[in-house]
Structures are given as C-alpha cells and as structure tokens.
C-alpha cells in the first residue's frame, strides 16, 4: 500500500484571483469595477464640462499658443529674451529663473543651516540659545510673511542708489537691488576653464584611486597636496602663461544709478534671503538630529582604535550622520525649490509668476499652462525621489556588505 504524496491543489486560479482582487478576492474585483466606473464618470464629466466651457469662452484648446508672440517684457532673463519672442521662450526664461533662485538659495541655506546646527550643538550655553531662538522664530513664521517682510519692509527701507551702502567698495546695496562687479572674459578664459575642468577631473580620479587603495589593500595614500596643486596651482600657472582669465568691472555711481557691474534685482535678493534663512532653520534641525543620532560610543570606539579625533569624525561619525541627514536634507532642497514659487507674491519672474501668472492672463489657456507648470514641479520632485531611492538602495547595500 503505497501512499503517494498528493499533488498540491492548482494554484493558478488562486494566483489570478490574488493579482486581480488582492486579499479581498472577487469582492475586490467588484470594488475595483465600481471604483473605475466612478473615476470614469468623473473624468467624463470633467472633459465634457471643460469642452463646453472652453467653447463658451471661445478659447481654442491645445498647445498652439506656444508659438505666438508673448509681447511682454521680463525683468530678469538668463537667456536673451525680448517681448517679440514666443511663449515657449517665456516658459524657458521662467524655468531658468526658478532654477537659479533655487540653486543660490540651496547653497546659502546649506551653509547657514550647518552653521546654525553647529551653534545649537555648541557646548557654549549662550551660543546654543542663540541658535535655538533663530530656529524657533524662523520656523514659526510663514514663509510668505518673511518674503514680504524682506521685500516690503527691509529692502524698501534701504537708501536710494546715491546713498547706497557700500560693501568694501566693490558691491553696493540700495533699494534698487544689489550691484556686484561683473566678470568680463579676457584672453586667458578658455585655457583657464579647460585647465580647471582638467584639474577637477584629475582630482576626482585621484580620490577614487586612493579610496580603492585604502579599501582593497589597506594602503593610505596622501593625496591632498596633489589635489591642491591640481585645483589651484595648475590654473594659476595657466594664468601666468595666458594672462588673466577675466577682469572684474567695478560698478560706478553715475548720476542717479550705477553704471557697470551687474545688477541683481531686489526681488531676487529678497527671495533668496527669505528662502535661505527659512530653509536653513529646517536644515539646522535635520543636521542636529543627524549628528545626535550617532551614538557617543562610536566616537569612543574610534579613539580606542587609535584614530585621531579628526579621523574619527571624518571616517566614523560623519558618514553615519550623513546617512540620517541626506534624505530629509534632499526633501528640504525640494521644498525650497517648490517654495520659490512664492516669488509670484513679490513679482520675481519665476515660472509661476511669468508663466502661470502673466502668460495665463494674456492667453487664457488655463488648462495647458497650469498643467505645464505643475508638470515641471512634479518632474523635478519625481526625479529627486528617484535619485533618493537609488541612494537609499546603495546605503542599505553598503550596510549589508
């Protein structure tokens, strides 16, 4: 009497049921159908209403308007732009303005945020209180409030260009904005840039080589003198050979305004100030939490291994803190980029202001324009989160190894 193992029951139907309806089975399939019907109904209503409304307002749907002439000026453009250019170019101009204010804001916010975090972690009681006061005040006031404060109250209260405040005689702040020296390219510019790029690439390669040597053979290679030479010595040498890469044109007060130099519009100054101080308060908290998250024993373990304090910080504490810091830090960078859309309140020509503001009121193409604006921000944030998930995957892989 042989007892053969019974065959397992056929799984295929169960699997299909699981894929189609989840744990709820066929009930789940029914729920999905009802849900899809409701979604379809809402979508149908939206499309039919939008079509009827557009017909009533005599607006032609579609992206054809992008090739029309814009016919208005923008007071800060990174690429050449005149009023006779197309709406598509307006879009690009606005996008570039958004990106430039975000990048500058991110730079200052990071620097200020790390400084404030160090202040808050300082053993000095008074300094840590100063940091705490800064963080509490900045975090508990709306960003728009701060932007308007800087723009309407502080920058407008500055003197006019004739009495402008001079910063070491090279930059001037007045109620017309900030005037800084403008670099003018000289004969040595091209070789200088080429050598600089070469230096950066070579330093990166050296660093990769040194790390590989350290991790694979345990061999410590000192690279910083070479890096210093590559990054500074080589460009200096080129400068001596080919002449100065650029000269600085200092702004001069002529009549009622400045001649020469490049002028940064006050809207940009106010927006950068507000965005970077506001985000810095959040970054400070993130950095502080990250550094506090590394256990004290790590530092002690490092020193008991005979590492110097600097080496312990660099090789043991900071990498672990960075693992905690980087994801929320990226989130803050993303927030800053999204918050730069508040520029519309003070008229800085960013994407929302010139595109969803001026162009929308000129053309009336609400659906296309707002969809494009939202799409840009959505793309930026999806890209960032994709990069972040790759980063998280790498971190967890390196931890597992």
């Amino acid at each position: 009497m042989s007892t053969e193992a019974r065959k397992p029951p056929a799984q295929i139907a169960l699997k299909i049921r699981r894929i189609l309806g989840g744990k709820a089975g066929w009930n789940g399939v029914a729920v999905q159908f009802a849900f899809a019907a409701i979604l379809g109904w809402i979508g149908y209503e939206i499309v039919s209403n939008a079509r009827a409304n557009l017909e009533n307002q005599h607006i032609a749907a579609g992206f054809g308007f992008l090739r029309n002439n814009a016919g208005f000026d923008v007071n800060q453009t990174l690429i050449p732009y005149t009023g006779s250019d197309t709406f598509l170019r307006v879009f690009v101009v606005g996008l570039l303005n958004t990106l430039v204010v975000s990048v500058v804001g991110i730079f200052f916010a990071t620097v200020l945020g790390f400084v404030v975090a160090l202040c808050r972690l300082s053993p000095n009681w008074l300094l840590s209180r100063v940091g705490e006061i800064y963080v509490e005040i900045i975090r508990n006031l709306p960003l728009l409030f701060q932007i308007l404060f800087w723009y309407l109250a502080v920058l407008a209260a500055l003197p006019n260009p004739r009495q402008s405040i001079s910063l070491l005689g090279i930059a001037f702040i007045s109620n017309r904005g900030l005037v800084i020296p403008a670099p003018i390219g000289g004969s040595g510019l091209m070789p200088f840039l080429a050598v600089l790029a070469l230096g950066i690439v070579a330093s990166l390669a050296l660093r990769i080589h040194a790390r590989r040597a350290l991790f694979q053979r345990g061999q410590v290679i000192r690279i910083w003198p070479y890096v210093l030479g590559l990054l500074f010595g080589l460009p200096l040498a080129t400068m001596l050979v080919f002449g100065l890469p650029f000269t600085l044109e200092l702004p001069q007060l002529k009549g009622f305004n400045f001649a020469g130099g490049s002028r940064i519009i006050p809207e940009f100054v106010a927006l950068t100030l507000a965005l970077s101080t506001y985000t810095a308060a959040f970054i400070a908290e993130i950095v502080r939490a990250g550094i506090l998250s590394v256990h004290k024993g790590q530092m002690e373990a490092g020193s008991s291994l005979g590492l110097s304090r600097g080496a312990t910080l660099r090789l043991i504490v900071v990498p672990q803190a960075m693992r905690v810091i980087v994801p929320p830090l990226t989130n803050q960078y993303l927030n800053l980029t999204k918050n730069s859309s508040l520029a519309v309140a003070i008229g800085y020509p960013d994407l929302v202001s010139v595109w969803a503001g001026t162009s929308l009121s000129q053309t009336g193409q609400a659906i296309e324009i707002i969809a494009m604006t939202m799409g840009v921000y959505l793309l930026i944030s999806l890209l960032t989160s994709a990069i972040m998930s790759v980063y998280g995957w790498r971190v967890s892989r390196s931890l597992g190894a």
Binding site: L126, V130, L144, A153, S381
Partner: protein, 501 residues
C-alpha cells in the same frame, strides 16, 4: 576594640577640610562650566552676547520705548522712530474681520468662542468625553460655523438633498448614454457604441424609476410649504429606524436609536435657534470676509477636511486591491510633488472649467478645495506612518476573532495608529496654518493679505508703519504656531512616557 584605636597606622586626628568642589549647578555653575570655561568659550560667549544685544535691544526699543501709543493719523508717527501702535489700533477690525459688516461681527466672535469652547477640552488629555467632543468639533461645528458666518437658511433636509443628489447623478448617466448614442451615428464602431449607449440609458431610466418615489415626495413637500420640518421628521424617522435595525433591532438597537434621536433633537434645536427654516441670519458674502477670520476659517476647514481624506488615502495606499492602491499612490505623489501655490492656481483658474457652466463656486470654497486635497495628501503619509507602526498581530488577532475588515480597521488599527501620529498631525497643522497665508496670492484677504492692503492706506503711510504691521502679524502667527508646536511636544512626551528613563 581599644586595640584598633591604639594601632599606629590608624590616624588619630581629623583631616583638614578640603575646599568645596567648584559649583557646577545653578546659575554660577552654568556660567562656570558652559560659558567661561576656556578662552575660546569666553570669546564665543562675548560674540553671542553682542549678537543678542544688537538684535534684542533695538527690537525692544522699537516696539516699546520709542513707540507711539496714541494718535489719529500718520502725523503722530512721523516724528518718532518707533512702532506706530495707533495704526494697528485703527486697522485692528480690518486685520481681524476684513470687511465683515460691523453690525454682524458678533457672529464672528461667537464662532471664535464656540471653537475655543470645543477645542480646549479636546486638547487637555485628562478631560473625559473625547469622542463626543471630537465629533462635535469635526462634524457639528463646521456646519454651525458656516450658517453663523455665511448666514442663509435651508429649504429642505435629508430627503430633499438625497433626492437632488441622486437625480443629478442619474441625469449625468443618461447624458453620457445620449452622447454615446449620438457618437454611434458617425463612428466606425457604431454597433458597439449603440449597444453601450442604450445600455447606459437603460440603466439611467431604471434608476430614474427607482428613485421616483423620493423625487415625488420631495416635490410634494416643496408644494406643501412646511417643507423643512416635514422633511426633518421623515429623515429623523428613517435614519433612526435604520440605526435601530443595524444596531441590532429589539435586542440591542435601543442605544443607537436613542443616540440618533438625541442627535436629531440637537439638530432641531440648532435649526430653531438660528431660524434656518425661515431664511436664517442675513447672508454675508465671503468676499467681505478677511483678516484673521479667513486665516482661521481656511486652517480649521483644512484640518477638518484633510484628516478624512488623509485616512482614506492612507488606507487605500495600504490596500491590496491593485486599482485602489495605484490610484492612492498616484494621487498622493501628485499633490505632494507640486507647490501649494500652483494648487491654488489650479483651484482658482482650472477648477471652474471642470464644473458645469451654470455652477459657480465661491472663491473661498475653491481655495478650500485646493488646500484640502493638498493637505490631505500630506496627512495620508502621516497616517500611513502610524499604520505601519501597528504590529501585524493586532490585525491578525482581530481577524481571528472574526471581525470584518471595516471593524478591524475602525476599532483596532486606526485608533492606535492615530494616537501614534498625533505629534506629526499637529506638525502638519502648523505648516497648514502657515501655508494659509498663500491664499492672499489668489485674491483672498487673510491676515497677511489684509496687512498688505492696509499698507496702501495713505492716511497711515509712515516709515514705521511697515515694521509695526509686520511685527503685529508676526506676533500673531508666532503665537499660534509656537503654541501648536509646544502642544505637539507635550503630546509626544506623554505618548513616550513609558520609554523615558
């Protein structure tokens, strides 16, 4: 014993007292150990003290010492270099009520008082009856506040609303079917479209006859004149009977029945008190609202509406049903990926295009819809964090007891999850409160918008009014946000009490 004292190696005389150790507690200790313990630290202390001196002293001087306290227009503020408080005094009604008619402002005050009365007991953890309190704040208060602030009355009740809604739905189904039928005349896949269209029209017709008793009753009620109270009585009877039957019938249904009757009695009292059955209070258009009123209305409405949206989306995102999960993820990621200002632009310019042409939505309501969707997506992520923190065993235990998914979720999982994430929820309320200032960009006059509008008044244009206005609004914003953040810290400490050592 005596030989010990006689031993040569035992000291006979007392040691001289050592000096007391350096004090490391209290103010002196603090100064010694954390301010002046090394040359670098002394330098840092001096620099920080200077920093504080150069920020705090001018601020205090501006706000109090040099301030102007009385005056009737700008001339009083031109001479001094301090804050111009008479300007705030003159603009205070505008900053709080906007252009709300002066005779009706008691309604706003009453709403604020009601909100405070409901909110304070809810926030104090020791007080009882949290469930009633929360349901009053989240369901009853918004309705009462709407009729208080906006005014107006009702012409029907549950029955008429249900009938109206069903009719709208049915009309839309029949409309869609008609469109398909029209399409089938020209399209290549005509028979298919015709069949589909006829089917949809047929379903619509069936629904029409199904809801015909309801619509007929509604029309009868409207013709009778006393529509509100009859409708109210019918709704009360129907809802109470349903509650009785679902609650367990004769065996256990008496409690739900009593609750339902009590709720409807309370609703009746509110309707009678506010005279909703004959017109209610006089209507105040929302474009007259402004100042702190709009700020609070937007934030409270955002809080009340975003929480259910967030819970639904969070549950949807954790659901195993594919379509619902995909939809929830897409919805959450979309709203979290765009800035609030584009959401407000969307609500202001795009939403009206999506609605039927004869259907206009108030500007404030449009902003509220945008904010609710936006905040809902953020709340969903908070709630999801709480759901993830609940051990699987909780749900499995409930399943072992034979509870359905709905009961498991609403009785076992959600209460624990929500309690976990109260601090996170409060933190998003803080950012929501700060973000309400953005509505001033889409032409609503909240606190910041009213402040900006008040700067334009030539009667008060003086150099110091700008700083005074910003100081005043800043103090209000700071008090609200700081209070909320302290509360969230307090709750966090309470929740983690067992983990502290």
């Amino acid at each position: 014993m005596s030989d010990i004292t006689a031993s040569a190696y035992v000291r006979q005389d007392l040691l001289t007292e050592r000096p007391a150790p350096v004090k490391t507690t209290g103010f002196i200790g603090l100064v010694r150990t954390r301010l002046l313990n090394s040359p670098t630290n002394i330098l840092i202390t001096i620099v920080s003290a200077l920093l504080l001196w150069f920020t705090i002293v001018p601020s205090v001087k501006f706000l109090f010492v040099d301030a102007v306290w009385t005056g009737t227009d700008r001339t009083a503020c031109l001479t001094e270099n301090g804050a111009c408080w008479p300007y705030i005094q003159a603009k205070l009604p505008q900053l709080i009520y906007g252009f709300y008619p002066e005779a009706e402002r008691w309604r706003v005050n009453l709403t604020f008082a009601l909100a405070a009365v409901l909110l304070v007991p809810m926030l104090v953890p020791r007080l009882p009856a949290k469930a009633i309190n929360a349901s009053l704040f989240f369901f009853a208060f918004p309705v009462v506040a709407f009729f208080l602030l906006h005014g107006g009355g009702i012409s029907g009740f549950g029955l008429s609303w249900t009938a109206g809604l069903l009719q709208l739905f049915d009309d839309s189904i029949i409309g869609a079917g008609q469109v398909l039928l029209n399409l089938s005349k020209t399209s290549a896949i005509a028979p298919l479209l015709w069949v589909l269209g006829s089917l949809i029209v047929l379903v619509g017709k069936a629904i029409y006859w199904l809801i015909f008793p309801l619509t007929w009753l509604r029309d009868q009620l409207e013709a009778s004149g006393q529509s509100v109270w009859t409708d109210f009585a019918i709704t009360t009877a129907v809802v109470s009977l349903i509650a009785f039957a679902l609650g367990g019938g004769v065996r256990a249904g008496w409690r739900p029945l009593a609750w339902s009757l009590a709720t409807f009695a309370a609703i009746a009292i509110v309707i009678k008190l506010m005279g909703l059955d004959h017109g209610g209070l006089s209507v105040v258009q929302t474009r007259l609202w402004g100042g702190l009123l709009v700020t609070l209305v937007v934030s409270v409405a955002g809080i009340v509406t975003s929480l259910p949206i967030g819970i639904a989306l969070a549950l949807g995102r954790r659901s195993s049903i594919p379509l619902i999960r995909i939809f929830s993820i897409a919805f959450i990621e979309f709203w979290r990926g765009v800035p609030l200002i584009t959401v407000l632009f969307f609500a202001t310019y795009m939403l009206p295009l999506f609605l039927p042409g004869n259907f206009t939505v108030d500007g404030l309501v449009r902003a509220l819809i945008g904010i609710a969707l936006f905040t809902g997506a953020y709340q969903a992520e908070n709630v999801r964090g709480g759901l993830a923190a609940i051990p699987r065993g909780q749900g499995e235990a409930a399943a072992a007891l034979g509870l359905s998914w709905w009961k498991t979720t609403s009785l076992i999982v959600l209460p624990q999850a929500l309690r976990h994430v109260i601090p996170n929820l409060v933190n998003s309320f803080i950012s929501l409160f700060k973000d309400t200032s953005l509505v001033s960009i889409v032409a609503l006059f909240d606190l910041l918008g009213s402040l900006r509008a008040s700067f334009a008044d030539p009667k008060w244009s003086a150099p110091s009014t700008l700083f005074t206005g910003f100081a005043f609004a800043g103090i209000i914003y700071f008090l609200f946000c700081f209070g909320m953040s302290r509360y969230s810290l307090f709750v966090e400490h309470r929740l983690n009490a067992h983990r502290r050592n």
